[in-house]
Amino acid sequence: MKQNRLIDLRNISVRLGGTQVLRDMSLYIRDKEFITLLGPSGCGKTTTLRLIAGFLQPDAGDILFNGKSVKSMPAHKRQVCTIFQRYALFPHLNVADNIAFGLRLQKKSKAEIAKTVDEMLSLVNLKSFADRAVASLSGGQQQRVAIARALAVKPQVLLLDEPLGALDLKLRKDMQLELKKIQRRMGVTFVYVTHDQEEALSMSDTVVVMDGGKIQQIGTPIDIYNEPKNAFVADFIGESNIVDGAMLSDCRVRFSGQEFVCLDKGFAKDESVDVVVRPEDVVVVAPEKGMLRGKVTTNTFKGVHFEMIVDIGGFLWMIQTTDYHPVGAVIGLVTPPDAIHVMKKSEYSGMFGDYTCFTEEYYELSEPEKEDGQ
């Protein structure tokens, strides 16, 4: 795998305006990989991107491209291209001239430029827009022009800084698919920054979950979802019930006053742990058959399933089922061994409680991140 490393970030630290944005971060990116940096605002994901692009210098650490240090190489000499959050299209140039910008700098012949611009326009389905002013395009179209402009210079790496953040949901879904398609077809390494976990899971080969200037977990989307390393990752990716537990022995864990069989090993005897149970993995049964019993406090219809908040001994669980259980009903719950994931205690333990204040949390999450200047 080692020779496959295209970009290598080694022990990077960055301070910006008095705050430590990245702390001793190391990360490598493989060739032709779709890697996503995922985390809440201020976690250092955009800073990482700007370091790779060359807009920012690390205070400590080194950046290697194909094994060579590029720490002191200016942005215009690096083989990377950025898709900016707000596209950064040149307003004084039309669509075709925007795409040709990088090619003209490379002193390509007129015929070659025209050919590449044409290719790029058809790649992003904007054939008939060549002569349009960029200001006359919709957000989605501007986004496509930005992608075409970046790919026209044939970079080895494309850096995407929340590129779909300003688009509406439907368009965002379409663009996700399209970006993935483009990435496969062009064979370009994508480094994608987002705070949208669903976007990260559905598009990436590798997800890097970041918080507080540190990498919390690196893995495939499935790994990240099924085997979160700590409470932060479990909470940030999808919905999770995170409860305190104790490991009795290998494959035996105790939480919520009950003993459960699980698949996790390698913990000390009676080690206190965080236990994650995903809302969709819980099986609802009759109260007397359940390992746990609880009372439904709210029930929301979500289309595919019902989302219930269930009070189990004072701790509020989120449970998703396809069957309807009225508010106030007492239900039994069964958690099969593979539904339980045990994590070591971390600095994040206890920070993510139950779903007591769920409504507010949910409101905050579904509030689209506002971009100034839009």
Binding site: A53, F55, P74, H76, T82, R86, A88, A150
Partner: protein
């Protein structure tokens, strides 16, 4: 409701309309009237026919103003570029310092230059002290142009600074990202995006330069006259309102044409059309 608000709106613009008619349109009509009449008020083309006599003064005015405008641009553009890149507080302070001389009457500022540049002025005094031969500076075209550059430079800096400080930094990053070095980014992104500022800066320096009279009088001690001086003479010394009006008319047309040319570079939103 609608008609009322329409009337109200019309009422609001009335004072401005009256003002414009009284102090802008009417004087222009008077200028045109005087230009085409003789002293008795009868229609006459004599003034217009006499205009070619002033062709060389006019040519000199245009030439000096073009040079002064160019020098202003060469000084102001890099300065505005630096300013726009500074921290906001520094920007504000420096802009205030640039505007500061304008708090003083420009008569006084021009006199100050006179004191500096005279044959037995301050600069020559210093030169003598360090045993260098004195320079003849006053009374030269250079002195006149210096006076214009000095007085009108802020009018070039401010509009340039305004557009340059609004250029989206991410556009420059995008340009670097696509392979442009500093000079290429300046030429291909910053410069085209600052065209509206360049156009208004040029207008704001060129127009007062071409019609100036006081600066040229003082800096050349009356030896180099510009078209503004000639107009002033016609009104003040010869009491030939008609001739003065005819020259003014030509100047006005020249300014109007140059402003229309400049406007081609900006549309209503101040955005570049090119």
């Amino acid at each position: 409701m609608r008609t009322l608000s329409d009337t109200a709106r019309r009422m609001l613009s009335a004072p401005y309309l009256v003002w414009s008619i009284l102090f802008i349109v009417a004087p222009m009509i008077f200028v045109a009237y005087y230009a085409f009449t003789d002293k008795s008020g009868a229609f006459s083309l004599a003034n217009i026919q006499a205009l070619p006599d002033y062709a060389n003064v006019f040519g000199r005015s245009v030439w000096y103003s073009v040079i002064a405008t160019l020098i202003c641009f060469i000084i102001a553009y890099p300065l505005a570029l630096c300013l726009a890149g500074m921290r906001e507080n520094t920007q504000r302070t420096l802009i205030m310092l640039i505007m500061l001389p304008m708090w003083m009457s420009f008569l006084i500022r021009t006199y100050a230059w006179l004191c500096l540049l005279q044959d037995n002025g301050i600069i020559n005094g210093w030169l003598e002290k360090i045993h260098l031969s004195s320079l003849h500076m006053i009374n030269t075209p250079g002195a006149v142009i210096l006076g214009m550059v000095y007085n009108y430079l802020p009018y070039m800096i401010v509009p340039l600074y305004n557009v340059l400080s609004k250029v989206d930094k991410s556009l420059l990053e995008a340009s670097h990202d696509l392979g442009a070095n500093g000079a290429q980014s300046l030429l291909r992104v910053t410069l085209p995006l600052s065209l509206p500022g360049i156009a208004s800066g040029i207008t704001m320096v060129f127009v007062p330069s071409i019609s100036t009279f006081y600066i040229s009088q003082k800096m050349s001690t009356g030896n180099i006259s510009m078209i503004g001086d000639v107009i002033e003479q016609q009104f003040q010394s010869y009491y030939n309102y008609n001739m003065g009006a005819a020259i003014s008319l030509v100047l006005m047309i020249a300014i109007l044409v140059s402003m229309m040319v400049m406007r081609r570079f900006t549309d209503n939103n101040g955005e570049v059309v090119v």
